[in-house]
């Protein structure tokens, strides 16, 4: 049986009370207390002004975490394959379309329609970076972070030198929010490269597991982990922030979890 592994070259993170990976690392590393605060989504500077104005919460979130993950590395984003993974699409956009379709007029805007595709964020990323490499956009419901990670690692196993994983979820507006309660926007991006024992970078190896999922000690962070699919990554991010080795187990699909062996 093969193994899926990678080294982690960069991290991007944005969530409630976690404005970027630098801040989040201090919180998750135990140097600073976690203070809950609404997620602030920056305007995506990499988009042209007209598209920047129209970019919804999901696009802002995805572009922000991706930008942070590649900011420090010497990676050429024009040749970097990407894996986008989200439990849902752009809830605001979906709400507007469904409202219009339920009205007498039914004339939905062309921009709303092409922004309704699950791969809208990926499309904007590839255009902004001039990236013509492969990009995929995945959904596995609450298991979307794990499914994205498996896809990214299988790309590395197949021979690509590096891949950018972006996993993100944004809250839905009412009335969808009552049916799909996500408290706030949360996303994390991992710049992953083929595992190189010589590189001074954290490594991870993935296997399917039946073990119980790792939890967060901090109650507020544990609540995020339980309520936002992309925040299921938090035990892994905590391990990275604390530069600790060992195995973390992430919630994945019904009947299967992901065991990640981390070497700092």
């Amino acid at each position: 049986m093969g193994t899926l592994s990678a080294c982690i070259q960069g991290v991007g993170l944005l969530g409630p009370g976690l404005p970027d990976w630098g801040e989040a690392r201090a919180v998750l590393g135990g140097e600073r207390c976690y203070t809950a605060a609404p997620t602030v989504l920056p305007s995506p500077a990499i988009l042209p002004p007209a598209e920047r104005r129209r970019a919804g919460r999901v696009i802002r979130l995805a572009l922000a975490i991706g930008t942070e993950a590649v900011a420090r590395g010497a990676i050429d984003t024009r040749t970097l394959p990407t894996v986008f993974s989200s439990s849902g699409g752009d809830g605001d956009n979906c709400h507007e379309i469904c409202s219009t379709l339920a009205s007498r007029e039914r004339q939905i805007s062309p921009t709303r329609f092409h922004n309704s595709v699950h791969n809208a964020a990926a499309g904007y990323w590839s255009i902004a970076h001039g990236c013509t490499e492969a990009s995929t956009s995945l959904c596995a419901g609450d298991a979307s972070f794990g499914a994205g990670l498996m896809e990214a690692l299988s790309q590395l196993a197949g021979g690509v030198p590096a891949v950018l994983l972006l996993a993100y979820d944004a809250d839905y507006p009412p009335p969808l929010a009552a049916k799909r309660p996500i408290p706030d926007a949360f996303g994390t991006a991992l710049l992953l490269a083929r595992a190189d024992p010589a590189a001074a970078l954290p490594r991870l190896t993935l296997t399917l597991s039946d073990a119980a999922a790792s939890t967060m000690q901090n109650e507020a962070l544990e609540s995020l982990r339980r309520s936002i699919p992309a925040a299921r990554s938090l035990p892994l991010l905590e391990q990275l922030a604390q530069r600790r080795g060992g195995t973390v187990v992430l919630d994945f699909l019904d009947g299967a979890r992901l065991a990640l062996e981390v070497q700092p």
């Binding site: 339920a102 590839s126 001039g130 995929t136 499914a147 896809e151």
Partner: protein, 397 residues
């Protein structure tokens, strides 16, 4: 790449349920497109609707998944003994060693569109019966299929618009080659809904008549729906001559525009080249290309340029969307199955509805059925956001 075998496959579209109906329609050059009378839609367009979906009943235990898309999935899975083949694979490999990779663009959003007409007048809330995760969410069809068969391996929906269910073949291939699974249930399921009908209309991309790919007066697409599936396994070193193999996949991004292809077809060409490289084949080894061929002026123009640049003007090619309509997120898998049928039967389906071929489009576009022994065929799928995928299939010998 390590060749994979499509050990079983099936397709259901407006041409009919299952392979025999599909093959018969292709043999007869019959289109399944008809004027749109879907739901409450009031648009001057043709659609490719699957008959009798209202009569499909999901198992009692899975009622929360009941929606047009999952009914279509079940109808498709029940054709050609595909469900029995999945159960046989489970007996061989175990439920955790089989992955599920399905493409969809709109999943069961029709249920949400209808629910929005019935908001509570006082609270604005959605009806209690509306089940977001069971119907609307893109993963709904994957979860439904997992539960239907009791599968517990890796599972994911690929949602890259109109290339979704082509890219599932590439994703499954990576997981098979990395030995994370021993078999993959791949496919695409996409069903009619108001979002896509009114959405493509808003972009002025739907034709008022049946779509006419590669016609000089083509003026847009006809939306269809389909469920198509294949069971992928690692091929034996000496496959049977009759075996249908997946030899390569190529993926690329246009990095150009959200809803228009790069005019020279650079991204399309790149995807086809990557697929050829993966199979270590030259363009001359391809006997037939099933085009994306939507019938929009810009798609067919860009795709013809890409094909001509890579293959020249001799390789026979056609779009089957004049017959099936554009099944969007299910188009890649539907056309992969049509390619598998072409390899088995030697039929290159002529493109339908062409009155006058566009002289600007230099690819060798077939407008009549042609028969010849086929060894290797290519299938193109391109999606919004510039998400391209080309799949290369071949016979065992």
């Amino acid at each position: 790449m390590t060749p994979l075998q499509l050990t079983h496959f099936t397709a259901t579209s407006c041409l009919g349920a299952g392979l025999a109906a599909t093959q018969r329609a292709l043999d007869q050059a019959r289109s399944g497109l008809a004027p749109c009378q879907f739901e409450t839609v009031d648009l001057p367009t043709y659609i490719g609707e699957v008959a009798c979906l209202d009569a499909v009943q999901l198992p009692r235990a899975l009622q929360r998944f009941d929606c047009r898309n999952n009914r279509l999935a079940q109808l498709g899975l029940w054709q050609d003994g595909f469900d029995a083949a999945v159960r046989a694979a489970i007996a061989r490999f175990g439920p955790r060693r089989i992955g599920v990779f399905l493409g969809t663009s709109t999943s069961g959003i029709l249920s949400t569109e209808i629910a929005y007409r019935h908001l509570d007048p006082d609270t604005g809330e959605l009806p209690e019966s509306f089940d977001y995760a069971g119907t609307h969410n893109s993963f709904s069809v994957v979860e439904f299929v997992r539960l239907l068969f009791g599968l517990s391996g890796p599972a994911v929906a690929v949602c890259t618009a109109c290339s979704s269910s082509a890219k599932v073949f590439a994703a499954a291939q990576r997981m098979l080659c990395a030995h994370q699974i021993d078999a993959a249930l791949v496919g695409g399921v996409d069903s009619l809904c108001l979002t896509t009908l009114y959405g493509f209309h808003s972009l002025q991309l739907t034709s008022a008549g049946p779509c006419r790919p590669f016609d000089v007066a083509r003026d847009g697409l006809s939306i269809g729906e389909a469920a198509a599936f294949a069971l992928l396994e690692r091929a034996s070193p000496e496959p049977e001559p009759e075996a249908v193999l997946m030899l390569g996949a190529g993926e690329s991004s246009d990095a150009y525009h959200m809803s228009s292809p790069q005019p020279e077809g650079a991204g399309a060409r790149r995807a086809m080249q990557v697929a050829l490289d993966a199979a270590t084949l030259d363009p001359g080894a391809i006997d037939y290309i099933n085009l994306h061929g939507t019938g929009t002026p810009s798609n067919d123009s860009a795709e013809s340029r890409a094909v001509t640049a890579l293959f020249g003007t001799a390789t026979p090619c056609s779009s089957t969307k004049g017959a099936t309509g554009h099944a969007l997120g299910a188009a890649g898998a539907l056309e992969a199955v049509i390619c598998a049928l072409a390899l088995k039967s030697g039929l290159m389906p002529g493109g339908l509805n062409v009155r006058e071929r566009d002289p600007e489009l230099t690819a060798n576009y077939l407008t009549e059925n042609r028969r010849a022994p086929l060894r290797r065929v290519l299938s193109n799928s391109f999606g919004f956001g510039g998400a391209n995928c080309a799949l290369l299939f071949g016979r065992g010998a």
